[in-house]
């Protein structure tokens, strides 16, 4: 168990956290406005769009991995960005995984807000972005739940992290790719230990989100 209590384990946690945090920030920054837009007004194909986002929540992470690999490989269109096997590449994959989940759950949360709130703000002449912000504040429980669910999805996924990060030691080795690697090496104890650590970190983050929900009331 010496391998477990080491600076390397800390570093692996940090890589996991920063990758998923960046992905969640990006996916929220993109997803919440899209959710606001598609819940705010009626337009042709709105139902189809929402159904599409609901379906994409089941996007397999390995598929996202191979898709992005085929774009980010040095011999591929975006190869010159030199992103493959870096943590931003993993983040990008996780952003794609988190985005539909955030949109889908936020749309549901925003649709639950009272229609009179929108009317009050329209009557007030509040600008579009400001109105969006107020709606998000009103629906913050649901929207934060969407963010938490998306975080859970990307923090624990292994498929795209492995394909896009390459499990490079001291660089792109995350908690999940380490668990996969240690387990394949037969180090079940280490795999289990890291699994529990991952759960612990997820728990801490959920408590943080919960306190945030409480704090804003």
């Amino acid at each position: 168990m010496n391998a477990f209590f080491s600076a390397e384990t800390l570093q692996i946690c940090f890589v996991s956290l920063k990758t998923s945090a960046a992905a969640i920030v990006a996916a929220s920054a993109l997803g919440i406005p899209v959710a606001l837009w598609s819940s705010g007004h009626d337009f042709a194909g709105r139902g189809a769009l929402v159904t599409a986002f609901n379906t994409l929540t089941a996007l397999p992470s390995v598929f996202v991995g191979v898709l992005l690999y085929s774009l980010l490989s040095r011999s591929a269109p975006l190869g010159s960005l030199e992103l493959l096997y870096t943590w931003p590449a993993m983040s990008l994959g996780q952003t794609i995984l988190a985005f539909p989940l955030i949109v889908s759950l936020s749309v549901a949360a925003l649709n639950r807000t009272d229609v009179r709130l929108r009317k009050e703000m329209i009557a007030l002449g509040v600008g579009r972005w400001h109105m969006g912000w107020i709606l998000v504040k009103e629906a913050r429980f649901g929207v934060l739940a969407a963010v938490v669910a998306a975080f859970g999805r990307v923090f624990t996924e292994v498929g795209s992290a492995l394909m896009l990060g390459g499990n490079i030691r001291h660089a792109t080795r995350t908690m999940t790719t380490t668990i996969a690697m240690e387990t394949s090496k037969g180090n079940f104890e280490l795999g289990l230990g890291l699994g529990f650590l991952l759960l612990g970190v997820a728990l801490a983050i959920n408590i943080g989100f919960h306190r945030l929900q409480e704090a804003k009331t």
């Binding site: 920063k18 390459g166 394949s184």
Partner: protein, 285 residues
């Protein structure tokens, strides 16, 4: 409550700054050499033991991507890695001939071993050689667990079936599509046979019921080669580093380090001195 909001705000700002700083670090990374290699070399701890020497010498960082030989060759073809350390001589030769690699140098070797349950239902222990052992397994329809992942080990296994004149298939032949460690575990759980590299088996030996039933056949020789990748997508710097890596790992220093690397009281890899081809032309000849 307002205080909480403020504190949250400050924490987010700091976290955001850290992320942005990290992003810049990632884009402005120092010299790195990207090495694709097999899980067997990485999992054994050999690279961890060797690479710091090279990193000191070149003042660079080596990023190791441990995958099967098949995938490593594909990554090389796409120019996603700068140098390969793999173990499938036939495909390595084809890779260089197709213009994807500058050259191939022979780095080291170890051997494959045939693993199976102690009770040995197919009677592999009594076989004269490896080919006879494989045909005994097929004849007994005893469970055989294959990597099935186009790795170097899988290629070796397929060549053994050819040597035994058997086309494996049927419910006794199970393909995992996973790495060496995972495949050994599956074989252990199924009490089946499998072909494994000695290093990975030794690393897991204490946790397994499987035993080495056959080894030492020259056909089970497992040579590792180094290939600097030739691809216009690779930077000048990467190409230069790749060549100095190939020269270094076949040089006297690294070779004696390889010979001194012991685990479980055994030498896992034997240095081969950088000759162009393995001493014995591989199977299928």
């Amino acid at each position: 409550m307002r205080l909480n909001g403020m504190r949250f705000y400050r924490v987010s700002v700091v976290a955001g700054l850290v992320l942005v700083a990290q992003l810049f670090c990632a884009s402005a990374s120092a010299q790195t050499l990207r090495l694709a290699t097999t899980t067997s070399t990485d999992n054994s701890g050999l690279l961890e033991f060797l690479l710091p020497g090279f990193e000191r010498q070149c003042g660079c960082r080596v990023d190791v991507i441990a995958v099967g030989t098949g995938k490593a060759l594909r990554l090389g073809e796409n120019g996603d890695v700068d140098v390969l350390l793999v173990h499938d001589p036939l495909r390595e030769k084809a890779f260089v001939e197709a213009g994807h690699g500058r050259y191939r140098r022979y780095v080291m070797y170890n051997d494959f071993v045939l693993l199976g349950p102690a009770e040995d239902p197919a009677g592999v222990r009594k076989s004269r050689n490896a080919a006879a052992a494989f045909s005994a397994i097929a004849g007994a329809r005893a469970v055989f667990v294959s990597r099935g992942d186009e790795s170097g080990t899988h290629a070796k296994e397929k060549s053994m079936w050819r040597a035994a004149s058997v086309a494996p298939g049927g419910d006794w032949y199970r393909e995992t599509g996973q790495g060496m460690g995972a495949t050994i575990q599956v074989a252990d759980q199924m009490r089946g046979y499998t072909l494994a590299d000695r290093g990975t088996f030794l690393a897991m030996r204490d946790k397994l019921g499987l035993q080495i039933l056959l080894s030492g056949d020259p056909r089970l020789h497992n040579p590792y080669g180094v290939i600097p990748v030739l691809n216009k997508a690779i930077s000048q710097q990467g190409a230069t580093l790749a060549q100095s890596f190939a020269a270094w790992i076949t040089g006297a220093d690294a070779q004696s380090r390889i010979a001194s690397f012991k685990k479980y009281g055994q030498v896992l890899f034997h240095p081969a001195g950088g000759k162009g081809l393995p001493p014995r032309a591989d199977d299928d000849s």
